[in-house]
C-alpha cells in the first residue's frame, strides 16, 4: 500500500499506509489525523480537508478542477501547492507523498 505522510502544524509526522482508490482525505480521517476535518465528507463543499503538498510531489497529482480551484481561492491561507485532500485519489505512484496540514481549516 502507498505510504502517505501527513505533517501536522506542530511538525509531527504521521505515516499512513493507504489503499489505492480511496482519497487522501479518507486516509487522514480514517486514521484521525488532527486538522483534517472533512465536514462534507468529500463533496467538495466545505474546504476543511485542505493540505499543502510537498512541492516535489505537487506536479505528480492530477490538476485541480474548477470547483476545487474556487473552493481553495477563499480557503484559509491558500498557497500554490494547496489541494483539497478529498479531491485526490491514492495511487501507487503517490507512495511517500508528504502533505502538510494548515493551522486552520475552512474559510476562517
Amino acid at each position: 500500500m502507498p505510504r502517505i505522510v501527513f505533517i501536522e502544524p506542530g511538525g509531527a509526522r504521521r505515516q499512513i499506509d493507504a489503499p489505492c482508490g480511496i482519497t487522501l482525505m479518507e486516509a487522514a480521517v480514517g486514521n484521525g489525523v488532527p486538522g483534517i476535518v472533512a465536514q462534507c465528507g468529500g463533496a467538495c463543499a466545505c474546504a476543511t480537508c485542505h493540505v499543502y503538498v510537498a512541492p516535489a510531489w505537487f506536479d505528480k497529482l492530477p490538476a485541480r478542477e474548477e470547483m476545487e480551484e474556487g473552493m481553495l481561492e477563499c480557503a484559509w491561507e491558500p498557497r500554490a501547492n494547496s489541494r483539497l485532500s478529498c479531491q485526490v485519489q491514492v495511487t501507487a505512484d503517490l507512495d511517500g507523498i508528504e502533505l502538510a496540514v494548515p493551522q486552520q481549516q475552512g474559510d476562517s
Binding site: E26, V29, G32, G41, A43, M71, E73, C74, D107
Partner: protein, 404 residues
C-alpha cells in the same frame, strides 16, 4: 464530577460528540448508543453515490472501529432506548437494562415525514433516512424500473438524478409550483427543473398526490387532477420531522424539536441535544431555528460537548448546505429570510451563477450553482456582515469579495 456521559444517537452529531469530548480531555466512561447496526456513517451519499453503488458502505464511516477502541468509547449498536428517567439520571434500554449518567447528549436526528393518503401502506413505497433504506431502494432499482418520486426537495431531486443515471424511468411529482421552493430562489428552482427535464425526467409541479394504487405492492400514483403515473416503486421525500419522542415522553421541553438554549442545553441541566432534533435560539438570526444539515449537526454537537465540560461556547457559524444533482452543484450559505433585495450574478444559461440576498445592503445569504468561488467568499462576507456595493455585485467577473 462527571464520570459517565451517554450519547444517544449514532449519526453525524453523535460521532462528533464523542470525538470532541475525548479531544477536550474527558477521560470518564463514554457510551454511544445507536439503534442502527452500523458504526456512525455519512448520510448525504445515501441519495447519491451510495445509492448508485459507486461508493461502498465502508467508505461512508465517519470513523473506523479503531477510533472507538482507541478512545475507549463503549459502542452500543442495534440498541434502542426505551425511556429516560431524569429524576434518577438513568436511561432504560428496550431490553430493560438501565444505565446511569451524569451528563447526556441527545443526538436523535429526524425521520422522514410519511404519507397518509390511501395506499400509503402498500409495499414498494420507500423513504430514505438510513443505510438500510438505501439498500432496499437500490435492490428495487432494476434497469428501466419505473420510479415515481413524490416530493421535489433535496432528497427527491438527488434520488431522481441518481435513479435516472442508473437507467430508470423517473417521474418527480411536486406539490408546490416549483422544486426546492422552501430553500432556493425561483430562478435556481427553474435551473434545476430544466436540468432534470433535459436528462429525461418527467417533472410535474403543482401536483398533489391523492392515492397510491396497487394490489399489496404499489403499481401507480394517482394525482388530484386525475393523472395516473405507473410505478414499479415509489420514493417519498416530503420533508423530515425532528425525532423528539424520547425527549418529550421524559418531560423535556419540545416545540418543533427539542428546545435547547444557546449552549445546546435542554430544559434539564444535565442533558444537552444537538443536530436535526433540536430547536435552538440563533444569535445571528435573533429567533429560534431548527436546521437539518451536516454542518449544524457538527457545530451544535461540538458546542454541546464543550458546554457539557463546562467550557462555555456558543457557536455563531453561518449555516451552509449543498446538493449534487447530475453534474451541477448547489452550494448555499446563510438563511434567505427577511431580505429586501435579491441580486443575480452571472447567467443561468452559462450553468454557473449565484443569487445574493441582501438586507439593507448587508449580504445575508447566497445560493451558488457551480460557482464555488462565490460560495467560499460569501461564507466569510456573511460572517463578517459585509455591506455590498450594488453596482459591482451583479457582475460575476468582479470577485464577490471585491464587491463590498
Amino acid at each position: 464530577m462527571i464520570s459517565t456521559v451517554i450519547i444517544i444517537g449514532g449519526g453525524q452529531a453523535g460521532a462528533q460528540a464523542v470525538d470532541t469530548l475525548r479531544r477536550e480531555g474527558f477521560a470518564g466512561r463514554l457510551v454511544l448508543i445507536s439503534d442502527e447496526a452500523e458504526l456512525p456513517y455519512q448520510r448525504p451519499p445515501l441519495s447519491k453515490k451510495y445509492l448508485s453503488g459507486e461508493v461502498p458502505a465502508e467508505r461512508l464511516l465517519l470513523k473506523h472501529r479503531a477510533f472507538y477502541d482507541e478512545h475507549r468509547i463503549e459502542l452500543r449498536l442495534n440498541t434502542r432506548v426505551a425511556r429516560l428517567h431524569l429524576e434518577s439520571k438513568q436511561i432504560e434500554l428496550a431490553d430493560g437494562e438501565k444505565l446511569a449518567y451524569d451528563r447526556m447528549i441527545l443526538c436523535l436526528g429526524g425521520g422522514p415525514r410519511r404519507l397518509s393518503c390511501p395506499g400509503a401502506d402498500l409495499r414498494g413505497i420507500h423513504y430514505l433516512r438510513g443505510l438500510a433504506d438505501a439498500d432496499s431502494m437500490r435492490a428495487a432499482l432494476t434497469d428501466r424500473a419505473r420510479v415515481v418520486i413524490i416530493g421535489g426537495g433535496y432528497i427527491g431531486l438527488e434520488t431522481a438524478a441518481t435513479c435516472r443515471k442508473m437507467g430508470c424511468e423517473v417521474a418527480v411529482l411536486e406539490m408546490a409550483d416549483r422544486v426546492m421552493n422552501r430553500v432556493v430562489a425561483p430562478l435556481v428552482s427553474r435551473y434545476f427543473a430544466d436540468e432534470h427535464r433535459a436528462h429525461g425526467i418527467t417533472l410535474s409541479c403543482d401536483t398533489r398526490v391523492t392515492q397510491l394504487e396497487g394490489n399489496a405492492t404499489v403499481e401507480a400514483v394517482i394525482c388530484a387532477d386525475g393523472r395516473r403515473f405507473a410505478a414499479d416503486l415509489v420514493i417519498v421525500g416530503v420533508g423530515a420531522m425532528a425525532s423528539t419522542a424520547l425527549a418529550s415522553d421524559a418531560g423535556l421541553k419540545c416545540d418543533n424539536g427539542i428546545v435547547v438554549d444557546e449552549h445546546c442545553r435542554t430544559s434539564d441541566a444535565a442533558i444537552f441535544a444537538a443536530g436535526d432534533c433540536t430547536n435552538q435560539p440563533s444569535t445571528r438570526y435573533g429567533r429560534r431555528v431548527r436546521l437539518e444539515s451536516v454542518d449544524n449537526a457538527f457545530e451544535q454537537s461540538k458546542a454541546a460537548a464543550l458546554n457539557l465540560l463546562d467550557k462555555p461556547f456558543i457557536h455563531d457559524r453561518v449555516p451552509w448546505f449543498w446538493s449534487d444533482q447530475f453534474d451541477s452543484k448547489l452550494l448555499i450559505v446563510g438563511l434567505s429570510q427577511d431580505y429586501d433585495r435579491q441580486v443575480l450574478r452571472g447567467d443561468p444559461a452559462t450553468r454557473s451563477f449565484s443569487v445574493c440576498y441582501l438586507k439593507e445592503r448587508e449580504l445575508i445569504a447566497v445560493e451558488t450553482v457551480n460557482h464555488s468561488k462565490d460560495y467560499m467568499a460569501a461564507r466569510k462576507l456573511i460572517a463578517d456582515r459585509a455591506l455590498m456595493d450594488l453596482d459591482k455585485l451583479p457582475d460575476i467577473n468582479t470577485p464577490l469579495k471585491e464587491a463590498v
